[in-house]
C-alpha cells in the first residue's frame, strides 16, 4: 500500500517542502530510503523502526521503500523521522491516509518514540503557510518558536503515539498559542550604557554609529572597556520590529542556536567571533552550508576584537556583505543567500604592545613595528569603517567615583529619532524623484560647510572616499541634532573620527 506525508527540510535559511512517500509491498524484508538522503536521514531507518515498535505499533516484515521527493535535492538532518514513521503507519494500515492528508510534520524520533527538537522550525512554519497546510506538527520544545510566526495551527507533539492519536482524533492536542506580532517586549538586559564611565568621545561615537548605521573602530590599550562599549551598542539601537525578530529567530533556529522552549528572539544579536575563526565560520558555508557569524549578527552587532589579528581572507570576505547586506555562498549543490545586515564594531590596540598613548605604561614599539601593525588592516576594509575613535585609559578615580553615564534608554530615544529623520528625508527625496549627486547627495550642506570640507580634505590629505565618509557621518550628526543642513560643526566633529587617516608615519 502507498502512503504520503508532507514534511520539509532546511536548505540555507529556507524550508524546502518534501513529500515523504512510503510503499510497503511483497518481497524480502528490507527498509530502504531513496531521494538524496544524507547520513542522518539514512539512519532514520533504525530510529523509525525502533520508535514504531516501542510505541506499540507494528512493522510487518515486508519490503519497505521510503522516497523523499523532490528527488534531486539533498535532504539533511533527522527532522524527517516523524513523517517517515507516520507514512509507514499509513502504508501498513495502522493510520488512515485522510488523517494525515494536508498536515505537515517534522521531528526527530528517539528509540522510545519520543519526539525531539530540531533546528529551523520557524522556517518550516513559513513553508507550511505557503503550502496552505492544514496544520503543523512539531516537537514540543519547538512549538513556541513555530507558533511565533502565526503561520498555521501548531501542535506540540511529545511522542509518536501522541501524534497518531491526535491525528486519529482520539486524543486531540490543543493548538499552541502564537505570540502576537506586536513589537515584542525586550528581554531584561544586564548591559546598560550607564555602566560605562568616562570615555566621552567613544560614547558619542557609539551613538553616531547607532544613529547612522555606521561601522565603528575602537582603538585603545587593553582593558579600557572596548568590548564593554561594543556590547552596549545593541542596547541603544531601535528595538527589533516584529518582522525583524522573526528573521533573526529563523536564522538562530536554522543554526541550531535557539534554546528549546524559546519563542521569538527580541533582543538584537551581538556576535563576537574570536580572531582565529576561519572564513566559512565568519562568512557562512561549510559542508552543510550553515549561516556564518555575519548572518548570526543580522539586525545586530558583529564585534571583531583584535581586528589586525584576523586572517586576511576573513576580513576580505566581509567586504561584499558589508556593502550589500547579503552574503552569497556557492556550493556544489547550489547557491545559498544569507541575509547579513549588521553593524560592525571592531577593536584594536593602538600598537603591537598595546600601550601607545597610555599614561600608565610606556609603549615599547618601534615606529617600524607600528607601521607594520597598521598595514595589516586592508585599505578597502578600513574604507568601509566610517568612525575610528580612540578609547584612552581613564584615570582610576574617574572609574571609581565618576557619575554613572547616561542610560541606554535615553541614547536609544535620540538614535531612534535620528533614524526616523533620515528615513523621512530619503522618502521625501524619492517622492520628488530627485536623483542627487555630489556632496548634497545625503541632504543639504551649507556653503560655509562645503568650503570647510574642501580646506580640511586638502590639509589632512583625505582620499575621495574618506571625504565622502566624513560627509555621511556629518549628516548623521546633523540628524542627531535635528539640523536641516550640515554645518561646519558637524563636519568638524565628523573629521575627529578619522584617527587612522591621521596616524602618519612621520609623527614624532
Amino acid at each position: 500500500m502507498l502512503a504520503a506525508v508532507l514534511s520539509a527540510t532546511i536548505v540555507g535559511l529556507e524550508a524546502l517542502p518534501v513529500s515523504v512517500e512510503v510503499d510497503v509491498g511483497p518481497g524480502l524484508p528490507t527498509f530502504a530510503i531513496v531521494g538524496l538522503p544524507d547520513p542522518a536521514v539514512q539512519e532514520a531507518r533504525e530510529r523509525v523502526r525502533s520508535a514504531i515498535r516501542n510505541s506499540c505499533y507494528e512493522i510487518p516484515p515486508r519490503r519497505t521503500i521510503v522516497n523523499l521527493a523532490p528527488g534531486d535535492r539533498r535532504k539533511e538532518g533527522p527532522a524527517l523521522d516523524l513523517p517517515i514513521a507516520l507514512a509507514v503507519l499509513v502504508a501498513t494500515g495502522q493510520l488512515a491516509q485522510h488523517a494525515v492528508a494536508g498536515h505537515l510534520a517534522v521531528g526527530e524520533l528517539g528509540l522510545d518514540g519520543s519526539v525531539r527538537s530540531i533546528p529551523g522550525v520557524l522556517a518550516v512554519a513559513q513553508a507550511a503557510r505557503a503550502l496552505h497546510a492544514r496544520s503543523l506538527l512539531v516537537p514540543e520544545a519547538n512549538a513556541r518558536e513555530a507558533a511565533a510566526g502565526e503561520e498555521v495551527p501548531v501542535y506540540a507533539i511529545p511522542t509518536l503515539r501522541a501524534a497518531v492519536q491526535h491525528l486519529q482524533g482520539t486524543h486531540p492536542i490543543r493548538p499552541t498559542q502564537g505570540s502576537v506580532l506586536e513589537p515584542p517586549p525586550e528581554d531584561a538586559t544586564p548591559d546598560d550604557l550607564a555602566e560605562v564611565r568616562g570615555a566621552g568621545a567613544a560614547r558619542r561615537a557609539l551613538e553616531i554609529a547607532g544613529a547612522g548605521g555606521h561601522n565603528l573602530l575602537l582603538i585603545g590599550p587593553p582593558g579600557v572597556g572596548k568590548t564593554m562599549l561594543a556590547r552596549r551598542l545593541p542596547t541603544i539601537l531601535p528595538r527589533l520590529s516584529g518582522a525583524e525578530a522573526v528573521e533573526v529567530t529563523k536564522i538562530y533556529s536554522v543554526a541550531g542556536l535557539l534554546p528549546a522552549w524559546q519563542g521569538l528572539i527580541t533582543r538584537r544579536p551581538f556576535r563576537a567571533p574570536h580572531h582565529t575563526a576561519s572564513a566559512p565560520a565568519i562568512v557562512g558555508g561549510g559542508s552543510g552550508v550553515r549561516p556564518g557569524e555575519i548572518t548570526l549578527a543580522h539586525h545586530g552587532v558583529l564585534f571583531l576584537d583584535e581586528l589586525p589579528e584576523f586572517r586576511h581572507d576573513v576580513l576580505e570576505g566581509l567586504r561584499q556583505p558589508m556593502e550589500d547586506g547579503i552574503v552569497v555562498v556557492a556550493r556544489i549543490h547550489g547557491t545559498v543567500r544569507f541575509p547579513a545586515r549588521f553593524s560592525l564594531v571592531a577593536a584594536m590596540n593602538p600598537c603591537p604592545c598595546g600601550y601607545r598613548g597610555d599614561h600608565r605604561r610606556d609603549c615599547t614599539c618601534t615606529p617600524g613595528r607600528l607601521q607594520q601593525y597598521l598595514a595589516r588592516l586592508s585599505g578597502p576594509l578600513l574604507d568601509r569603517i566610517d568612525l575610528h575613535v580612540e578609547v584612552p585609559r581613564p584615570p582610576t578615580d574617574e572609574l571609581l567615583s565618576g557619575d554613572p553615564g547616561e542610560p541606554s534608554s535615553a541614547v536609544r530615544a535620540r538614535v531612534t529619532a535620528a533614524r526616523m529623520r533620515a528615513t523621512t528625508r530619503a522618502a521625501a527625496c524619492q517622492a520628488e524623484g530627485l536623483l542627487l549627486r555630489g556632496p548634497q547627495r545625503w541632504g543639504p550642506v551649507s556653503a560655509e560647510a562645503l568650503a570647510f570640507l574642501r580646506a580640511a580634505a586638502d590639509r589632512l590629505v583625505l582620499a575621495a572616499r574618506a571625504t565622502e565618509r566624513v560627509l555621511r557621518v556629518a549628516r548623521t550628526i546633523a540628524d542627531l541634532e535635528d539640523a536641516e543642513a550640515v554645518a561646519v560643526r558637524h563636519l568638524a566633529e565628523a573629521l575627529r573620527y578619522r584617527v587612522l587617516d591621521r596616524w602618519a608615519p612621520q609623527a614624532p
Partner: protein, 391 residues
C-alpha cells in the same frame, strides 16, 4: 636672522683658525681616523707633536712602536685608502672637514677630543647654538616643552643641536625648523644613512636648513657603540645643553657629562614628580643645573640676553581653514585651558563644560588651523606655533 656670533658665551676661546687644509692633509686626517684603537685624543697629540697630520701619516710606525697592538695598526695603515674614502664622501655630496679647516666648528675644535674628521651634509655656521636632548620615549609634556623651547630659541636666531633620535630630539629639530631657524643633527651613523628610518623626510629638510653631521665615514651603520661618541659632539657643537626629560640611566645624562668636561652650560627643565622621566632633569637641578622654564632662561644663562619679542617673524601656521563665527568663543576657551599643558580630550571637555560633540568639533577646527595638536591617547596640546594667538 642670526644676531649672535660666537664668543659671547662661557665657552673657552677658540684656537686661531688655521689656513685651509690641503688635499693631502685632509686625506691624512681621514686615514688617521680609520686606525683601530687610536682615539681622537691620541691623534690630536701626535698631530701636535709632528706639526701636521700628513707627517704623522707618513711616519706612523714611529708613533706607535711602543704600543701593544702596533702590528694591527700598521696592518690597517697599509690597508686604508684615505683618498678612496674622501672621494666616496664627496661623491655623496658630503663636505669633509678636519680640525685644521677654517670651516671646522671652532667650538668643536676646542674640546679635549675633537673628531679628526667631520662628514657634513648641509652647511655649518658659527651662530650661537644650544643642544636640546632628552628621552626617546617622551611624554606629551616633554614633547611640548622641547617644542616650545626649540621654537622660541630658533626664533631668536639660535641654532638647535640634537641627535635626530625619536622623541625629544626630533621634536626639537622640527620645532626649530617651524620656528624658522637652523638646526644641526649629530648622527651615530654615516651622514648619508638615516636612522631612525622614519625621520628620512626630516633629515632631508635639515640638510637644506642646517646640517647632518657625523664623525663616521659614509655608509657606517648605526651601531649602539657609536651613540656615546656622538653625544660628545652634540654638547661640543653647542654653548649649552638643555635636558628636557630622561630616566636615571638616560643617554641624555651622558651628553651632560661631556658638556661638563667641555665647559658647557647645563640647563634642566623640571617635570612631574610622578613621572620616572623627570628623574634625570631633577637630579641635575639638585646638582646645580640652570633651572629652565623658558627660552629666556637659556638665553640669560648663556649671556646672550633677551631680545624684545616684538615683531617676531616666524612662518605662520598653515591657515587655509577659516574658523566659523559660531565657534570663536569655545575655541578661545579651549586654547586658554590648554595653556596649562596637554590635556586628555575628556578632561578638556569636563573643564570646559562642553559635550564630547562640541569639543570634538572645536578641537578639529583648531587643529586644522595649526593652533593645537593631538597625540595618541587623545592628548591635546597647543602647538608652539600657535601660542600668542587666539582662536
Amino acid at each position: 636672522m642670526l644676531p649672535y656670533r660666537m664668543g659671547f658665551g662661557g665657552a673657552p676661546p677658540a684656537p686661531e683658525a688655521p689656513a685651509p687644509a690641503s688635499g693631502d692633509e685632509v686625506a691624512a686626517w681621514v686615514g688617521l681616523s680609520r686606525l683601530p684603537g687610536v682615539g681622537p685624543r691620541t691623534i690630536a697629540g701626535w698631530v701636535d707633536r709632528a706639526g701636521s697630520a700628513r707627517a704623522v701619516w707618513q711616519h706612523l710606525p714611529a708613533f706607535i712602536q711602543k704600543r701593544a697592538e702596533a702590528a694591527e695598526i700598521v696592518a690597517a695603515w697599509k690597508k686604508v685608502d684615505p683618498a678612496a674614502i674622501l672621494e666616496g664622501a664627496r661623491s655623496l655630496g658630503l663636505t669633509v672637514l678636519v680640525p685644521c679647516d677654517p670651516g671646522f666648528p671652532s667650538l668643536l675644535r676646542a674640546i679635549p677630543d675633537p673628531p679628526p674628521v667631520l662628514y657634513v651634509r648641509g652647511s655649518l655656521d658659527e651662530a650661537a647654538s644650544v643642544a636640546v636632548v632628552g628621552s626617546r620615549r617622551a611624554t606629551p609634556y616633554g614633547l611640548a616643552v622641547a617644542e616650545r623651547l626649540a621654537f622660541d630659541l630658533a626664533q631668536e636666531g639660535v641654532t638647535i643641536v640634537s641627535g635626530l633620535a625619536r622623541g625629544i630630539d626630533s621634536a626639537a629639530h622640527k620645532a626649530a625648523l617651524d620656528g624658522g631657524g637652523r638646526t644641526v643633527a649629530v648622527l651615530g651613523c654615516g651622514a648619508d644613512v638615516t636612522y631612525p628610518p622614519e625621520h628620512r623626510r626630516l633629515a632631508e629638510t635639515i640638510a637644506t636648513r642646517g646640517a647632518l653631521v657625523s664623525e663616521f665615514p659614509p655608509g657606517t651603520p648605526p651601531l649602539p657603540g657609536h651613540f656615546p661618541r656622538r653625544n660628545r659632539l652634540i654638547s661640543g657643537l653647542a654653548l649649552g645643553v638643555v635636558v628636557v626629560e630622561g630616566a636615571v640611566d638616560s643617554g641624555a645624562l651622558m651628553t651632560v657629562d661631556y658638556a661638563l668636561d667641555q665647559g658647557r652650560e647645563v640647563f634642566a627643565v623640571p617635570g612631574s614628580i610622578f613621572s620616572p622621566r623627570s628623574s634625570a632633569p631633577h637630579n641635575l637641578l639638585r646638582q646645580g643645573a640652570c633651572m629652565t622654564e623658558s627660552a629666556d632662561d637659556i638665553l640669560a644663562g648663556l649671556g646672550l640676553g633677551s631680545s624684545a619679542r616684538s615683531g617676531r617673524s616666524g612662518p605662520g601656521a598653515p591657515c587655509g581653514v577659516q574658523a566659523p563665527s559660531e565657534c570663536a568663543e569655545g575655541a578661545a576657551l579651549l586654547l586658554a585651558l590648554l595653556e596649562g599643558g596637554p590635556l586628555r580630550l575628556d578632561e578638556l571637555a569636563a573643564q570646559a563644560s562642553l559635550s564630547a560633540a562640541e569639543v570634538g568639533a572645536l578641537v578639529t577646527i583648531l587643529e586644522l588651523r595649526g593652533l593645537i595638536r593631538t597625540l595618541p591617547g587623545q592628548m591635546v596640546m597647543r602647538s608652539p606655533a600657535g601660542r600668542g594667538r587666539d582662536g
